[in-house]
């Protein structure tokens, strides 16, 4: 099944046998495309003695370490086709990943992100409050993951409003007006896990203030590292968010700049879900063999979206565990998993823990 056709299928509804078949076919094709069009990728596969014609299982798809995107310009299309270069938002001095996107790749990212998000919020556009500052999207020449996320999310909303000023202060007047304007409507919110925590939750708590929204769907992403350091887990996080914002359904999602679009959303039961377009394999660090369900190890992520750069199969530096497949009580099909955090001692990646004090 070709990607265009695949994109028509409803998210989280296909069972594993059907999904495996479609994914495998598409991932093999992508491996071949990148092999032929990305010299660096080809050299790696040659050293690994990969015979693409012999790939029979998703586990056989070769994977490249995510750090390579920091040190090399990996792309499979001519420079003239590249319309966007995405970067991870590293802190000063850190190397950032550079992801080269052409039109088709960008379009597919947008489509797939939309199909995943609308499977949760429905097809209608909702009033959108972005829990960030408008500053992050000002520099359009180099997209950082944070700015791109904001822009990407904006398509699901209307009357888009930014909750923070340029100085990362809550713009109370603006937010209050937004509440007044959208009484009795479902509100969509989006922001970065840490930014929400630092500049919304803690700030409101400190000043003994809160907003009273009736009905919010909040999506957040970006990683827990800094928040974990404050010994706050997801349950606590959600409780405190609800405490300052009102009636909120909180959806955390996991995504990497290397595989934008095919994000992994955490369901109501706290499980991260693979969408139709993505898959996860857990590998043990001893020999990179895949481990059985329930065992922890390094996370390998697969996505059928990357066509302009060889990012369809990457080995991350995160640890995780697969909890099940097709049988989550939330009803979504596909593998579901838990992320346990970055492996110890590895290079510190700052995908979107973006706000650093200088």
């Amino acid at each position: 099944m070709k990607l265009e056709e695949f994109n028509q299928l409803e998210q989280f509804k296909i069972n594993k046998n059907e999904k495996n078949k479609i994914l495998l076919e598409n991932l093999i094709e992508l491996t071949q495309i990148h092999f032929e069009n990305c010299q660096s990728y080809k050299k790696i596969l040659e050293k690994l003695n990969t015979d693409i014609t012999k790939i029979k299982d998703i586990k056989d798809i070769p994977y490249i370490p995510v750090r390579l995107f920091k040190d090399f310009e990996l792309k499979s299309v001519p420079d003239s086709n590249i319309v966007k270069t995405m970067t991870s938002s590293g802190t000063t001095g850190q190397k950032v990943s550079k992801i080269y996107l052409d039109k088709i790749n960008t379009l597919n990212q947008t489509k797939v992100l939309a199909s995943i998000i609308t499977s949760i919020i429905g097809k209608q556009r909702l009033p959108l409050l972005l829990l960030d500052t408008e500053m992050v999207k000002k520099d359009r020449s180099m997209f950082s993951a944070r700015g791109a996320g904001i822009i990407g999310f904006s398509v699901f909303g209307k009357n888009t409003t930014y909750a923070l000023t340029d100085n990362m202060q809550i713009d109370f007047e603006k937010v209050e007006k937004f509440i007044q304007d959208h009484k009795n409507e479902t509100i969509l919110m989006f922001g970065y896990t840490y930014v929400i925590w630092q500049f919304i939750v803690k700030e409101l708590e400190k000043n003994n203030k809160k907003f009273n929204f009736d009905n919010i769907i909040l999506f957040h992403t970006g990683g827990w590292k800094k928040i974990k350091a404050e010994a706050v887990d997801a349950i606590e996080y959600n409780k405190r968010v609800q405490g300052v914002l009102g009636n909120v359904k909180v959806y955390n999602y996991y995504g990497m700049v290397e595989q934008l679009g095919s994000i992994f959303v955490e369901c109501e039961y706290g499980h991260m879900h693979c969408s139709n377009h993505s898959d996860i394999i857990i590998r043990n660090s001893k020999d990179f063999s895949s481990v059985e369900m329930g065992k922890k190890g390094l996370i390998q992520l697969l996505s059928v979206l990357p066509t302009s750069y060889p990012g369809h199969s990457i080995l991350t530096e995160d640890e995780g565990v697969i909890l099940g497949e097709d049988d989550c009580p939330c009803g979504r099909k596909g593998k579901y998993f838990k992320i346990l955090g970055r492996i110890k001692n590895a290079e510190i990646r700052g995908c979107s823990d973006t706000y650093e004090k200088h």
Partner: protein
């Protein structure tokens, strides 16, 4: 010179693990009795303690500083016309933390007072031995007055201040650290001993592997492990490249199997190292067309075959069990790529005398040590091409 109040402000940012800013800077004679006694006590206390089983680098110190070894060195060193230079400032490395202590001991034996800047990272074995030294020093006031172990976050002013006071400096930590410290003003007569980034290789005679017993190969594998895996190949003296003389596939397989067997029992492969090795393999594939096949035995051992010898080879650095290999037709085949970066050759089944003579005959700029496999890490008073006792002391001539 700096004004006193400036210095006082500076000192607030320095953590004195041992000693104080009031350090005695006058020199002693090399191998003075109090220093030898102090080292004997340090060694025997370490030997008695149970922690050395946990930290092989501490047992290396205990073994090196044992009475018999110090006595032997002192006897070999009968010279009564030398005295230390005065104050030595040590900038310790963070790749091999224990070298801070060796650096201190060598300079102490040469007769100097010492300020040792420890790495700002915390290493348990360095903490243990620092505490022990502090305890023992109480009984040796002459050395105690001449010793300071300090920690401070990178700070130009503090580093510049100590550099200005020093009569000699031991600068570890590689090229970057050296270039930073060279910028500070020192006394015109200050002697710097620098330990830049170096490169080390191993030469194995394949015939010798085939002609020896399994028992000996087990020991060889253990020795090779100690040179490499033990410190994740982080040391400059740890070999990156294995040169095979009289190359033979069976010998290679045999050798690596023994190494793998030993490493399998001993080595704890960290997740991050596994990812680093795989990443390194991908980077190598992209960057070096000069590499042939890369053999991966689980994630414990990566071996990349080098097609052709050239100067770039010294840039190929593995870690945690990632080696490069090349089949040598004769020993001197690699001499024309030897530059001043080459430090240690570890060997098996060859005569080190031949290489030593060749270094002179072919005017090689590098290779400071030629030692059997297993001794790559054995630091000593002659290190990196320097006789540290001589260079850290001065000679008085009389006529």
């Amino acid at each position: 010179m700096q004004k006193l109040e400036d210095v006082v402000i500076l000192m607030k940012n320095i953590n004195y693990i041992i000693g104080s800013n009031n350090i005695e800077t006058s020199a002693l004679e090399p191998f003075s009795d109090c220093v030898c006694d102090f080292l004997a006590e340090l060694s025997s206390d370490l030997m008695k303690s149970t922690v050395i089983r946990q930290y092989p680098d501490l047992s290396a110190i205990a073994f090196w500083a044992r009475t018999a070894n110090i006595k032997k060195m002192k006897e070999n060193y009968i010279q009564n016309n030398r005295i230390g230079r005065g104050l030595c400032f040590h900038i310790a490395p963070s790749n091999i933390p224990i070298n801070a202590i060796f650096s201190y001991i060598f300079s102490l034996l040469a007769g100097n007072a010492n300020i040792v800047r420890l790495s700002s990272k915390d290493f348990p074995q360095v903490n243990i031995i620092s505490n022990l030294i502090k305890e023992i020093l109480v009984k040796y006031p002459d050395i105690e007055a001449r010793t300071a172990f300090i920690k401070y976050e990178r700070d130009d002013e503090i580093s510049a201040y100590f550099s200005q006071c020093s009569d000699c400096r031991m600068i570890w930590g590689g090229d970057k650290t050296i270039s930073i410290f060279k910028k500070y003003e020192t006394k015109p007569r200050c002697v710097d001993i620098t330990f830049p980034d170096r490169y080390s290789v191993c030469i194995i005679n394949a015939n010798a592997i085939l002609n020896t017993t399994d028992d000996k190969l087990i020991r060889l594998a253990e020795n090779f492990y100690n040179d490499t895996y033990l410190m994740d190949q982080n040391a400059c003296s740890s070999p990156q490249l294995i040169y095979w003389l009289n190359d033979n596939k069976e010998a290679r397989t045999k050798f690596w199997n023994f190494v793998m067997t030993y490493a399998n029992q001993k080595y704890i492969l960290q997740d991050a190292i596994a990812v680093d090795k795989y990443t390194k393999m991908c980077e190598d594939s992209i960057l070096y067309d000069n590499l042939g096949e890369i053999t991966i035995d689980t994630n414990l051992l990566y071996r990349a075959e080098i097609k052709k010898l050239n100067e770039n080879i010294a840039n190929l650095r593995g870690k945690g069990g990632y080696f490069y290999e090349y089949s040598l037709k004769e020993t001197r085949e690699f001499y024309n790529i030897v530059d001043e970066k080459y430090q240690t050759i570890t060997y098996y089944g060859i005569d080190p005398e031949i290489i030593k003579e060749d270094i002179k005959r072919y005017h090689l700029k590098g290779i400071d040590r030629i030692v059997p496999i297993g001794q790559a890490m054995n630091i000593d008073i002659v290190w990196d091409g320097h006789n540290l006792i001589n260079e850290l002391s001065r000679e008085i001539s009389i006529q």
